[in-house]
């Protein structure tokens, strides 16, 4: 097993072999991130390309190869947000769509929903809701950090997140009912 240190050193020297090794090792993780932020697989693959290009061109900024995994994760999420920003899809939601009650965020769940189905639920979310849910819930950023990244208010993020949760709860309960 080739160590991350050697791979990173090779990538810093722009060696195609090392770049391929890094791709082989981390492509599944990158793809997992990309799929969550995109509505479908095609867009996710485009996003993954961008992510890897960014990784290869900015790898010399990585100082400690121990943090390679989290660095790649961070690059991935940032690239996703950059791409969404480039598409100029609205992150904010109109005031009338704001949920006024937070309600019960627990739902019946029997651990039998396949990950692919849950991924499909996320991908089916509206753009803004999906991004905020990914950032704040799955990737564990604070609302403050997310607000800075997305350059919008924390309140909007909270509202988006709440909306996303409600949609997801509905979908999961529907799923549990049908199966």
């Amino acid at each position: 097993m080739i160590k991350d240190r050697d791979i990173v050193a090779g990538c810093k020297a722009d060696k195609p072999k090392s770049q391929r090794l890094l791709y082989d090792k981390y492509c599944r993780m990158v793809m997992g991130v990309a799929l969550r932020y995109c509505p479908n697989r095609e867009e996710a693959e485009d996003l993954a390309q961008e992510i890897f290009i960014k990784i290869f061109t900015k790898i010399h900024q990585l100082h400690d190869e121990i943090t390679l995994t989290s660095w790649i994760h961070r690059i991935s999420t940032h690239t996703c947000i950059d791409m969404l920003r480039a598409k100029k899809r609205p992150l904010t939601i109109p005031y009338e769509e704001m949920p006024n009650d937070i309600g019960d965020m627990n739902c019946n769940y029997y651990e039998d929903i396949p990950t692919e189905k849950l991924l499909a639920f996320i991908q089916d979310l509206p753009e803004g809701c999906r991004t905020v849910f990914n950032l704040c819930v799955i990737d564990g950023l604070s609302y403050e950090e997310a607000a800075a990244m997305l350059s919008c208010s924390e309140t909007t993020l909270r509202a988006q997140c709440c909306k996303a949760r409600k949609i997801l709860i509905k979908k999961i309960e529907n799923y549990e009912k049908t199966y």
Binding site: C27, A48, L119, G140
Partner: protein
Amino acid sequence: MKKHIDDIFKDQFDQFEAPVSDGLWDKIQQNPGWQQHLRRQKIRNLSVYAVLAVIVISSCAVLLHQRNISDNQDIDTFSVEEEELAVSSQETADIQPANNDAMPEISADETIVPADPVLEATDTPSAQNDTETMIPAEDNSAVINPANTEPPVPQNNSASEKSSEKNTINNKNNSNNNNSTQTSESNNKSNSTPGGNESPTTPSGTSENANPNSSLFSIPNAFTPNGDGLNDVFKPVTSAEIQQYQLDIFAMSGQHIFTSRNLEYGWNGEFQGGAMNSGNYIYVIKYKETNGREHIDKGQLLLIR
């Protein structure tokens, strides 16, 4: 069973990995952004190589230049050394004459009839055997102003001294054979002529045509006017077309003995009806090439009875 919605997704998607389609790597490689990056990289590398090449080439050029300069300096110093050598040899030649006074008497016993008698007889420099260039210059001065013949004496003496020494060595083997002395004589001459021509130390600057290398004549350096039909007449021979030919013969004392403007008409060894003695004489040949270039060939000849 109730579970918080956040936990459901957190548990499922923490460390979530998804399979990747096979063509993704190729897509990355063909991505315009990646291609652009590679191109930039290539340009950067090329520019680095170019800079390196320029540095290497320029350093090479500088080195070569310095080497050339040093070579030139070497040549300069070498030529200087040559000049110094020439000067020092002259000096030694000047110093030597002290011994030379004694030498002719010793060598007088030897068979070199030509060199010594004249030396003793005329006491003039007259550089018997070797110092061709000295002689012509001197000869001119002798013709123009016989009084000037004195100054160069020491050099000529030394030179003739050396040559006489050579002759003694040569002639020891050849004993009384005239012909062999002639050949050794001619050898000496032929050896000495080119060197003499290059010598820049001719005291008189009267020789206009400083390029005697291009002499068109083959000139005998000795003749025997004894009536045996062999070499009875001194006559330069040429195959080239020349104009305004004039041959003059001088005695070592500077006395004008013979003149001829006809290529076919040479000197028979007589002066005013009387046969001249054996010894060295000076010849001066003036002529013009068909292209108008003037030549003056000077040298000495040996009369053998």
